[in-house]
Every structure is written in C-alpha cells, then in structure tokens.
C-alpha cells in the first residue's frame, strides 16, 4: 500500500503540491490523472523519495526513505534510466543482487518472455530501441516482486501490442496483491484497467473516484468536466 498524508511541496513561495491525501490500496490499480502542471510528477518524485517534501509518505507501512520501504518498492520512471554498456542480462544481475532477490533469474525470465526480450538479453542497453528500453525498465521494476509499484507514464514509446501486454501484466501484478499506482495523462489507455482514480489540478486532488461509481459516464468525460476541458 502507498499512503500519502498532507503532502506539500514548495518551490520557493509556489506550492506545486498542496496538502494532498492519496492511498493506493494493495491489490488495486490506482491512477493519478491531471492536466500538465497539475503536480503529478512532483507527487511521483516525492513518493520515490527523490524530492524533499512536507508531510508523510508510507510504503508498505514504512517511511518512504527507509530501507524496508525501498525493499518492497518498484519504480518505473517516465524516461528509462539504464546503463548504456550493460546488457539486458547484466542489468538483471545488477538489480537481482542489489535487491538480493532470491531466484531472480527465474523471476526475470518470466518477464523476458512476456516482453519478448529473450532474444535481446545479450544486447547492450544502447543497442535497444526506445520501446525495448521501456520494457527493460519495467522488467527491472517487476522482477523484484514489489508490494508497491509506481509507474510514471508507462506507455510512452510502446507500440499498440506492447501496450496491451503491459496492461495485462499490470493487472496481474495488482491481482497478486501489489498496490499499483500509475501516473498518466493518456486516459483512454488506462480506462479499462483502473480500480480507483485521483484527479489532480493546480496542486490539489480535486476528486477521488472508484470505477463502479462512474456508472454510464466514461472516465474521460468525467475528467474533462472536472478540469474544464484541460
């Protein structure tokens, strides 16, 4: 579970995020929606402990800066950050040992197959296409079997078939008990798989909605009503 309480982030006198509350439940896919400048990226970076903030963020019941929280936390950034000269296999070895994941090779193998990366395992990161690097970045986050997963704009650079596969994988990971929090502005892609949505605008959470509360209305229409078409 990812819990955010009274999160505020200031840049000088400007509040990029202002006293927000958010909970991503275990076993559910929670999405964070918002127009550009709403504060999504700031929230994501704060959860990943990459920014100083006011408030409290807990991952699996631990403070997000603690080693215990890091151990159960997977993060897929918007732009993959990989080591150019390391091969796919070497990235897997590195993360497997860094997180001390038992039988990491078997766990990685599953995702290598799902992402069609098996044939690329001897390739260096710099030799992979943009979509492949995105898949490798996801694989590295998934193979540690996180209890809480944070995914920032996961579909950028992926082809339509890969998007479908990724959505299925994310659904499976959530069904296995993981709290999945996805930040995106492409509503159509996540509208089928989400369980709960938080909508941000100008640094505030302006609405929290469960999928079953939407009834006949689409998430997109609901979003545009709230954000006045932005």
């Amino acid at each position: 579970m990812i819990e955010i309480h009274h999160l505020t982030k200031r840049y000088g006198s400007f509040k990029a995020v202002d006293d927000i509350e958010l909970v991503a439940q275990s076993g559910k896919i929670t999405i964070l929606l918002g127009p550009n400048g709403a504060g999504k990226s700031t929230t994501i970076k704060s959860i990943a402990n990459l920014l100083k903030f006011e408030g409290n963020i807990q991952i699996c019941g631990y403070d997000n800066g603690s080693i215990e929280a890091k151990r159960c936390f997977g993060y897929v950034p918007e732009t993959p950050v990989l080591y150019d000269l390391l091969t796919v296999d070497e990235h897997i070895d590195f993360i497997g040992h860094a997180y001390q994941v038992e039988n990491y090779k078997e766990k990685a193998q599953k995702y290598l197959e799902l992402f069609h990366l098996t044939e690329k395992r001897k390739k260096m990161a710099k030799e992979l296409s943009k979509g492949m690097t995105q898949k490798l970045s996801m694989l590295l986050a998934f193979m540690i079997e996180p209890k809480a997963l944070l995914v920032d704009e996961p579909m950028v650079g992926l082809d339509p078939a890969s998007i479908e596969e990724t959505l299925k994988i994310l659904r499976n990971i959530a069904d296995e008990g993981c709290a999945v929090l996805i930040s995106t502005h492409i509503i159509d892609i996540v509208s089928d798989i989400f369980d709960e949505a938080y909508i941000m605008k100008e640094g505030h959470i302006i609405q929290r909605i469960q999928k079953n509360e939407l009834q006949e209305e689409s998430l997109k229409d609901f979003f545009f009503e709230l954000t006045e078409g932005k």
Binding site: G65, Y83, D93, Q100
Partner: protein, 520 residues
Amino acid sequence: MKALCLLWFMKTKASLRNLFKKPSSAIFTIFVVLLYGFIFYAFFFLPKDNTLMLVNFELHSSILIFIGFLALMLFSTMLSSKKALFSGEDAYFLFSGPFHKKQIMTFLSFQTFLQSILLAFFALIFFIGMNMQIKVDLGFILLALLGSVITIMTFLVFIDYSYVLSIGDQKYKKMNYVIAGIFVLILAVILILTYLQTGRIQTIMIDFIESPLFYYVPVFGWLKLTLISYVESKMILTVLGLLLLMICLIVIYLLFISYKGDFYEQALEDSLELSKRLKEFKAGNQDALRNVKVKKINVKRFYDGAFAVLSKNLLIMKKKGSLVSWNDLLSIGIYLIITIFSNMGFGFFIYMMVIWLFMMMQTSDLTAELKNYQIYLIPDQPYKKLIAVMIPTFMKVSVIGVLSFIIVGVYYHESILNILMYLLNMFGYIFVFMSASVLTIRILKSRSTRVFENMMRMLIMLVSALPSVLLTVILVMTNSLTPTTLTIISIASLAMNFILSFIILWACQGMMNGRELKSD
C-alpha cells in the same frame, strides 16, 4: 545577413541572461570576471625584481608552455572523432532557412573568429597566471593575444575545412591524423638535431626549449619567433613571424570558403548529433564525446546489496578498458620523460602527479552515477552505497599512482620510508579530491558543475593546510623551526587531509537516499 546577425545577438544576450538568472550563477560569474581582472592587474602592477624584459630560459620555457597549452587544445579538437560546423539548433535553422551558402560561411567564420578570441584570452590567462614573475610589457601581451588568435583561428578554419572535405570524400578523414603526425615528426627531428648540436642527452629538454630550431615548426614556431623577437627588439623578425601566421590563415581560409561541394545534409546530421552528445557530456557522461570500444567481458560475480553498484561499476570499467587505460599510462609516461630529461627530480614528478590526480577526478563518473535514480532505490545503508560508488575511482588512481611513485622513487634512489611518505601524501590528496566532489554535489545538488567542484577541491586543500600554517607561524614566532618540527608540520597537514575528507564523506552519506540530491 541581418537575420543571422540578429540571431547571434539574441543568442549572446540569452547566454548572458542565463548567467545572471540565478544568484549563485551571477555571483560566480562576477567572481570569475574579478579574478581574471585581478590576475591581469597583479601581473602588470605588482612589484617585480627586474625592470627590463630579458630573453632567458624562464621566458623561453614560459612561451613554450603557453604554446604547448594552445597545441594541446587545438590538436585534441582536431583529432576528436566528433565534429560539427554548428550547434544543432544553428545548423537546423541555417540549413533549412532562406540563407545562401555565402551567408552561412560568413556566419561560420564570424563564430570561429569570436571563438578564437575567447580561447586566446583563456590561454593568456593561463600564461599570466603561471608566470607572475616574468617581466614583459603590455605590447608583449597584446602581441601574444594577436598571435594566439591567428594561430587558433588557423587551426579552427583548417578543422572545418578538413571536415567538409571528408563529407565529400571519405579519404580526407585521415588528413587530421597525417597533419598531427607531421608535427610530431618535425618535433622529433628538432630534438635529434638539438642532441647532435649539443651532444647532451640529460639536458636535452632544456636545450630544446632554448633552441632556435623550434622556429621552423609551422605556426607554433612562428608564434614563438614573434614573441621572442619582440622581447629581443628585433622588429623585422617579429613582423616576419606575424606575416607567416597571417599568410597561413589567409591561404586556409580561402581554400575553405571556395569549397564547392555539397555538405548540408551530413553537416546538419553531425551538428544535431554533437549537440546531443554535448548535453549528455554536461550531464556527467564522460564518454559522450568519444567512441568507446566495448570489450566483451563475462561477469564473474555480483556482490549483494549496495556493493552490487561496485560490481556493476567495475564491470563497466572493464568493458571500457578504463581501469588502467593507455591514455593514463601515456600521460604518466610523458611526465616521467619530462622529469628525467629535464633533470627536475622526484619532487617535480610528485607535483605533476598531483595535477594528474586533479584531472583524473574530473573524469570520474561519480556525478553521472548520482544522476541515476536506481542508486537511491537500492535497499541498503547510504554509507555503503557511497563507498561502493567511490571505490572504483579510488582503485584506479591508487594503482597507477603507487606504481609510478615506486618506479620514479627507485630511479632517484629514494629510501623506502620516503616513498611511503609520498604515497601517504598521495592518498591524502585522493581523499581530498574525492570528498570535494561529493561535497560539491551535496551542496549544489543537480546544479553542480566541474568549475564549482574544482573550486571546492582547492578550498578543502586550503582548509586542510590551515593547521600546518598556524603551527608554522607559532614555531617561527617562537624561533623553534627545526627539520623535526618541519616534518611534524607536514604530517599535521597530511592528517588534516584525511580527517577533513572523512568528516565530509560521513556528513554527506545521506545524499545516497536521493531526496537530498535533487535541486529544488
């Protein structure tokens, strides 16, 4: 052409605006300008021993070091495999916009001219900073500026010319190497001739520095001829040197602007590529500007937890062959040759090695490593992560440093105790330089730059020296300065290097958790 002038004006204005956008950057800019101003002021107005300009060994070697500095800058640009005529943005607008070839070439020449002036100023500051005690007049400095502007511009235009030629015909790609080879050959011939004239091998470097044979080296020799002749008041030779430089520049420039081939497509592609690589380089990727040959290495084992970072970094270094590279061995080989053939002694070699260490730390991948979020997410203690990140650089410099100290120490018949003391000093410097990098990144966060890092290193070195300075003052005042107390002072300074470094590293360990490192 009006549009291109406007473009240049707006770009310059934007660069200046950017320098003064943040208080820290504005303060730094003003500090650098004042520092440069002070260096010039100190050079001309602070009292000196002799009042007349003299041609002596000191002047010869100073001019040659200045020329060597220029040559190093120019040849490294010339031999770089990554070249482009413009920045990516300029190339895009120039080649796709409504501009004639003549306009583009004029804009390029104008940029090259400005670049030459800036580089010449930079080299001159280096010359003045290194030679505060040399007595030369304003005319000499202006002549050095003019001569170096022409020299730099000659090379930059030649580099552009060989680049456009190589776009038209691949065989010209080797031309820069051939030119560099010819220069090396000429220098070798001059060294041999100097030896034949004097018959002394031990002082060959000293004889070479003063030899008039150097004036036969194209461009660089003519620059030295101009400057030495000016001090000797031989105005005909001064004018001759300048004329030779000018003729060379004019010939290369005419060849360049009369080039008829079509180079737009490749030039645009290269400009965009180089701009991208420059951005990566500024972001801390040390390999962005060179083609790294990657070796196939099998992973033997990865350590667990934070030390997986160490395994990963060692693996990358082995793949790049950068653990002990040929470049490092070559640099140290050159220091060794200079030390032995100029009869400078072990102390001089140590001085050169400290400079090498300083340079080595600048090429460490620490900054780039700290920009990868994965480091922060690894579930382990921050101090372990910091140690894991620092060990590879430490190993690299230590191995090379220890080997060179032992070789040179043995050559100069130094005692084992002395060599050990020097080694200990070297480790002190290594720790200071590394902790300074860490502290700079900790304080300036993602705004950290190399210049700030270097300033921080110097500051920590100064702070480390404070106790020994204080001790010296007390001992001098109490008349108890003896060889034994001098040794104590030296040990105190060394101990401070270690103590300060460890305090800094301990205080900075929290940054390996991430949130302390990203600039707000």
